[in-house]
């Protein structure tokens, strides 16, 4: 059990998809105009990651090497369609805000990268935990980014307004996404460096 927890922690910190591996930047920047949006995008991706990792680890030995990548993409696309339809049915509001970025989970480099570098070489249980860890790391990063942008851009936290006023709209708009991510990345690196030294 200790190993499994280590796989999860590795996904969140040492191999954080956003801050360390720099993968999946499109949804990271596009869907984090508020903390809730970031959180739901992260969870949707984590869900796809766990299921695709599980399926791919089970069938990896049956797939010929040459058609590996297209087969993985089809498996991932199937789960993305499941998530897309489920969200359209049960969470129509969030589905409308995230819009085109739900089907675009298919081309999120994180999912294919984990399939190729972890799930195809490891067992089913480890693969689920890897998907969970990386998914949670992604969710954490997106929620932090959304939190910062919402706080600065609208003076609110998870939709609750702290003070009246409009906030710095720039942080809700496109340029703010780049700035906020840049400074969070610096912060993450500083914290990680201190943590590793100890």
């Amino acid at each position: 059990m200790k190993e499994k927890i280590q796989i999860i922690i590795k996904g969140i910190f040492a191999e954080n998809p956003t801050f360390v591996l720099i993968l999946g930047m499109c949804p990271t920047l596009a869907t984090t105009s508020s903390a809730i949006n970031g959180l739901s995008m992260g969870l949707a991706t984590a869900f796809v990651l766990m299921l695709s990792n599980l399926t791919i680890s089970l069938v990896a030995k049956l797939i010929p090497d040459k058609v590996r990548i297209p087969s993985y993409i089809v498996i991932i696309a199937a789960f993305v369609t499941v998530v897309d339809l489920l969200m359209a049915g049960y969470l129509p509001d969030i589905h409308a805000t995230l819009g085109i970025f739900i089907p675009l989970i298919v081309v999120n480099c994180i999912v294919l990268a984990r399939a190729e570098s972890f799930a195809s070489k490891n067992g089913a249980v480890d693969s689920i935990f890897d998907g969970l860890g990386i998914g949670l790391g992604f969710t954490l990063a997106l929620t932090c980014l959304g939190f910062v942008r919402e706080l600065l851009g609208d003076y609110s936290v998870f939709g609750h307004k702290l003070t009246s006023g409009d906030g710095m709209i720039l942080f809700i708009l496109a340029p703010g996404a780049f700035f906020a991510l840049a400074y969070l990345m610096i912060l993450f690196n500083i914290v990680k460096r201190k943590f590793v030294k100890k």
Partner: protein, 192 residues
């Protein structure tokens, strides 16, 4: 006039990379040099336009008549992957010099979310075939423009050595991208 509006809106006002955040991975990854960026930009313009036209035909002649629109994501990504492979093979035979220039970028394009994103967007916007082609072409040009501008800025950035240690690499690149996005916001009022 309608087409000119689509072009201006796609290239400047709603730039794929800087306003819609599609294709950020190659934008950050490949944009070290102006020459490689131009190569990548050319390859994306080509594949993006072709993919949007083919996916339009699939949506309207296969998925809608058979009422299987929910297969959109799966069928589009498969078609784009196959298309990229095909373009690669044809270019290799037909124009070795162009293949030399674009070759290494082609496999990367399958996972460039701008391609799938624009294909889905033009269907959501209910464009007809001609509008889809123009929209995709303009978005490809917008992508190339942003990529080349950004590469030029990063080349200059490498020449200055006084970037703080913590900001080297991705953080400073993201800040430059943010400034570029701010500059593009200036086009905001042109098209309503």
């Amino acid at each position: 006039m309608e087409y000119i509006l689509i072009i201006i809106a796609a290239v400047f006002v709603n730039n794929v990379v800087l306003a819609q955040f599609l294709g950020i991975c190659p934008f950050l990854g490949v944009s070290g040099k102006v020459s490689t960026s131009a190569g990548m930009g050319g390859a994306v313009i080509f594949v993006l336009t072709l993919a949007a036209i083919v996916t339009y035909l699939i949506q309207h002649f296969i998925l809608i008549p058979l009422q299987i629109e929910y297969m959109q994501t799966i069928s589009f990504i498969l078609v784009i992957a196959a298309l990229v492979q095909m373009v690669e093979i044809i270019l290799k035979k037909a124009s070795p010099s162009l293949y030399q220039a674009l070759g290494i970028f082609l496999p990367l394009i399958t996972t460039n979310c701008a391609v799938l994103g624009i294909a889905i967007l033009s269907i959501q916007k209910d464009y007809n075939l001609a509008q889809t082609a123009v929209f995709a072409l303009a978005n490809g040009v917008g992508f190339a423009l942003a990529l080349i501008l950004f590469a030029g800025l990063r080349e200059q950035l490498d020449l200055t050595s006084n970037v703080p240690k913590q900001m080297k690499g991705y953080p400073i690149a993201l800040i430059v991208a943010g400034l570029l996005a701010m500059a593009f916001m200036g086009f905001g009022g042109i098209v309503k």
